[in-house]
Symmetry: C2
Subunit: 454 residues, 2 copies
């Protein structure tokens, strides 16, 4: 007699087998693509000493953290992959070689208010390049290439990588004598897309007492990238400000380096934009910042973001460790793609490529066939449950297993196998080797699509 009603916690994604297979495809593509750029996989604990994880302290995040005692230990679950990276690099810095490039795809935990599309357990897929003391800006220039190849490998066609540089913004606010108000201004102009320039102007003048002519200067400046035809044109407009602030000039040089090498790194110009409105929060990033948006779904916001930071692990070590990195919020992205029907349902999601159905009492020939197929890389399920023939074939149908293979007395006597393509209904009776080739060709055809449409 059941005693507890089974349930999964709200805010925790638990997929049925077909969508889980789609998620596995995405994970595999991310692992493979990140590895192409020389990033090494890391796998750090999900749990850390609370003192270590919360070294930075304060902030909105702390309230959301899963923190608890076990015996004497004060423990917490990681809420991102950056703090564990900082700990890892500080702890093992003498055993690592710099620049240190790592990717990590793992679950993180935030006890947010549960609502549709918000997750308390979710995957982040991060890459970071950490330097020892210094790190060349060429690394910043390589990041758009990684974003481009990753989303292209996932199948996406219509997206833009948007890049800005925090030094350009901060330098500009310095020029305007607005450094003290730059935080308020950036937070406000970040809403430009949503509330429009009229409201932004009102907030800046009324709430933050920015002089009207300064507001004009800010809005003019930020609109440069929207007005320009391409990245080269934005850079040309920015040159008009050169020579007035060293921070600005440094940021402009960095942005020039990032855009200059796009072509060599294989990033088509039409997938890239310099966007002066991107700021990415206030404290952490210090140079290049990245966002990635889907052309047809701007309301989703950025699906891959990151930037350059001056010092990864100041809370753990005196060693200065500048870095640059990006993160994909994978669980949220998957949820959105699923909601909008952007996951390709034609790619196989079945647990097996072939269902082998023995039709004789002696199961050995069917098993030997399954074994041979497996040795040749096919995913094979042998179905040996009782029941009528129709039920057995129905099982392959329900699981969308693409091929069913029948081994009856005739087949065994003649040394052949009967194989049915479950989608076309086409049935062949051929040697095992010929059947294997037929199935492999069919699978290659089925596998040829891209996982994300759009």
């Amino acid at each position: 007699m059941p005693v507890v009603k089974p349930r999964t916690l709200s805010g925790f994604m638990e997929l049925l087998p077909p969508p889980q297979q789609q998620m596995e495809r995405i994970l595999e593509i991310l692992r493979r693509t990140y590895a192409l750029y020389g990033f090494t996989p890391l796998d750090t604990p999900l749990m850390e000493a609370a003192e270590v994880l919360l070294a930075k302290g304060g902030g909105e995040t702390e309230k959301q953290i899963y923190r608890f005692q076990k015996g004497d230990a004060d423990l917490a679950l990681r809420f991102d992959l950056t703090v564990p990276l900082a700990k890892y690099v500080a702890l093992h810095s003498h055993e690592l070689s710099f620049p240190f490039r790592r990717y990590q795809i793992g679950k993180v935990y935030r006890g947010e208010r549960a609502q549709r599309g918000r997750f308390r357990e979710f995957y982040q897929a991060d890459i970071d390049i950490i330097g020892d003391g210094t790190l060349s800006v060429v690394n910043d220039a390589e990041i758009p290439s990684i974003i481009y190849r990753t989303f292209s490998a996932l199948g996406l066609r219509k997206f833009h990588i948007r890049v800005n540089n925090r030094k350009i913004l901060n330098g500009f606010y310095e020029m305007q004598g607005l450094t003290e108000k730059s935080g308020d201004i950036m937070r406000t102009v970040d809403k430009l897309d949503k509330i429009g320039p009229g409201k932004v102007r009102a907030i800046l003048t009324d709430d933050f007492s920015v002089a009207p002519e300064k507001v004009d200067a800010v809005l003019d400046f930020l609109s440069l990238s929207e007005k320009a035809a391409d990245s080269a044109a934005v850079l040309a407009s920015l040159e008009a400000y050169r020579g007035r602030n060293p921070l600005f000039d440094a940021g402009l040089d960095e942005l020039r380096t990032v855009t200059r090498y796009l072509d060599s790194f294989g990033v088509p110009g039409d997938h890239f934009k310099v966007d002066l409105t991107i700021a990415r929060g206030l404290d952490y990033y210090t140079g290049t910042v990245y966002e990635t948006t889907l052309d047809e779904y701007p309301e989703i916001g950025s699906v891959c973001s990151g930037g350059r930071y001056d010092n990864l692990a100041a809370y753990y070590t005196d060693r200065k460790l500048p870095g640059v990195g990006i993160s994909i919020g994978l669980t949220r992205l998957f949820y959105i793609l699923q909601e909008r029907g952007l996951l390709n349902a034609d790619l196989p999601t079945a647990p097996a490529d072939v269902l082998v159905l023995p039709m004789t009492d002696d199961l050995s020939p069917a098993m030997a066939l399954a074994t041979t197929f497996r040795e040749n890389g096919l995913r094979v399920q042998l179905y040996c449950e009782g029941g009528k023939f129709k039920k057995k074939v129905g099982y392959a149908d329900r699981l969308r297993i693409p091929y069913a293979v029948f081994m009856g007395e005739d087949e065994i006597r003649d040394g052949v196998v009967t194989c049915k393509d479950m989608s076309s209904g086409e049935q062949t009776t051929l040697s095992a080797a010929a059947t294997l080739e037929r199935i492999k060709a069919g699978l290659a055809r089925r596998e040829s699509g891209r996982i994300i449409l759009g």
Copy 2:
């Protein structure tokens, strides 16, 4: 100024990049091999409602569980992958097709006393086949094939899959009128290997008041498998007991089925043993039980265990769900292999296959080369930091990146690249395409070994 000393919790494995790469190889082989048998990957939350996770209640495990409150919620981290599977199948039973075959490789948590080689966070790699009401014993027969292929794919040569059947044991104890004492007896004889038959005899007669002639009968029976030359001989000896107890007879029939199909399933007889001393705990398993031992390291115990159970999810549903499954305690296994030097250090563990070193101010040609190599599947790191030539090459050396590629003015002018094999020192100056082929051939050679030795 650092405020917190970075540390990783004791009992939590955190690997440096080279061993992590070895672990990734193992994970990839497990995923691929499990998939060949038609198991679908699952990924359930690490956290569940405590009420759900502890439905079964009691036991040694409960004390070890990480359980905590967040707001009103009483939460716990999973301590195995079986309870979450039971929940999953009960919750989604109407959306699944049975037999339901899933694999899951994930971390589980047990707050055990910390000691060397014991982990509080560890990977389990499980497969289970769940039937709806019934499940053919042919599935039990397939499991040794999965174990054999998995460990063979990992590189192991010297191991044995040991199989027994709980019905044979329980039937035998029934015959002897020892059913009530069968739990005590099984717990005691489980120590045969460690304490020897003399001590076992003493404990059974003195502590559990088993009559001496019954003790003889038990020890005689259990020694049948040790005395027999092979599995066929054990089965022949067991036939002598047939007809005296229906449970025993059923178990013997099941064991015959499991051994009968080994050959068709590709399991060599010399890797398989019927071993009557294997019992695998007391409550859970009801039929076939499995253990896997390394011939040269018997003291490690079983590295892959499991068995048949009558009902997976009785705490969650009225639906009867029999199953059979096995589990590999991956973190412990990895630790042991590492300790004993059984992980093949010759397989590449570098983050990249090639380090590209630009030798000119314009980095574009080196970047374009890196891009071409990546498009052809090579893992490439572009090294653009400052410093002397020696330092740059030393970086490739320290990370054991197998090839370094130099792009200087001469190379760019002549349309060639210079490539150094970092282990042999051999240097070639060839076209990019020819260099790519050379590197690919070298990598294939380096990749040809097996990951686990022994």
